[in-house]
Amino acid sequence: MAVVTLNVNGQDVAVPAGASLLEATRAAAADVPTLCHLDGLNPVSSCRLCLVEVEGSTKLLPACSTAAAEGMVVHTHTPRLREYRRMTVELFFAEGNHVCAVCVANTHCELQDMAVTVGMDHSRFPYQYPQRSVDASHPQFTLDHNRCILCTRCVRVCDEIEGAHVWDIGSRGGHCHIVAGLDEPWGQVQACTSCGKCVEVCPTGALFRNTDTTAEKQPDASLPALLRSARDQHRWHNQ
């Protein structure tokens, strides 16, 4: 197996050729934070939390979608990166309508956890209170756009794992939002198999089961990795 060696935070690590920088940082136990990334799904680098510094590059690079290369020298937790990560999480809170105390995902929310990880004690950006809707047309699940951070995990798991491709992103810029089918009410999209994978991988309370109320959502974001290894390698990690 071809191997590349690189340096992460002063530590030399060897990873298989083709591995991402994120995998290399994990090999160095660097604990780079992520929100949109999910093992088992293709990376999109939309959340920008995994940005790292690579010597020789003037740009910050998303670790999840950058290939590890021979001789790279990577820094994952410089003061600049820490500050940017905290700003990014503050912007997530400020640009949506996130009210942890009354959220279905309270205590099981990756955004709520990430605020702790990056040391966010308040948002330095004023809350925007965008006008967003709730799609409760599906008999089992609800999509609350107020809590969506556009990580696109739902889009990807439905397309790449379930093969139904119910979800997409509609509009542009600040108006971007998740759409079901051809921008229809979710409950009317015949392609939806009601498998619930989108609900399981959603990092916040944007997608939830109708039977769950405040702080009751308990998602299982390990599903894509489990299903992918079962299909590709016929290995069931949970057994």
Binding site: F93, N97, V99, C100, A101, V102, C103, N106, T107, C109, Q112, D113, A115, V116, G119, M120, D121, H122, S123, P126, Y127, Y129, P130, Q131, A215
Partner: protein, 192 residues
């Protein structure tokens, strides 16, 4: 030989703006720690500790619960800042506007106060419904509910809905010794 006079106590205030008082209930959950606290501080203003109506001068530390939602909240917040050395945003409503801030979403984001008043006093009322109007008696709602730090500079943030008694204790104990608490990790920082 004259006995040493007791060290001057810190002057502590707790303030209740637009919140449910849950943060104050959590403060009371400090139980016997309140005895230790009482040896170190004078509670000079507090809805649960004094009957003082006017916010006093020369306050050392103020725990401010709640968002800024009406003209009384605004006036008191400004007084607190003017008369207090260290202002603490106490709980999620003060830190983020939280549940009181949900009305900012109404009326297309323009005037949530108008929207909630019309809903409560006109739309859901019988035929005699009317909007409350009593200048100087009923404080007027501000169009938008704001977190405390968007109104006055805040020195320390103590999130949580409510912050647990343990979190409150861990935050204020160092302050008693003139030190800053380390606000890091899930025990000290988590919203909600």
């Amino acid at each position: 030989m004259t006995p040493t006079p007791p060290a001057a106590k810190l002057r502590l205030a707790t303030v209740w703006l637009a919140g449910c008082s849950g943060c104050h209930m959590s403060f009371l959950d400090l139980d016997e720690f309140l005895f230790d606290l009482a040896e170190k501080v004078d509670v000079v203003f507090s809805p649960v500790g004094t009957d003082v109506k006017i916010y006093p001068e020369n306050v050392d530390i103020a725990l401010v619960e709640g968002a800024v939602a009406n003209v009384d909240n605004l006036e008191l917040a400004l007084q607190v800042r003017e008369r207090t050395a260290l202002v603490i945003s106490f709980g999620d409503c003060a830190v983020t506007a939280n549940v009181p801030g949900l009305r900012n979403l109404l009326d297309g984001g323009h005037d949530g106060a108008k929207a909630v008043l019309e809903r409560g006093y006109l739309e859901l009322a019988d035929a005699t419904g009317q909007l409350p109007f009593a200048p100087g008696i009923v404080p007027e709602l501000l169009p938008k509910v704001l977190p405390l730090h968007e109104v006055i500079p805040v020195d320390l943030y103590l999130p949580g809905c409510p912050p647990s008694a343990e979190r409150i204790r861990e935050a204020i104990t160092p302050l008693m010794a003139g030190e800053r608490p380390v606000m890091e990790g899930p025990a000290m920082l988590r919203f909600g």
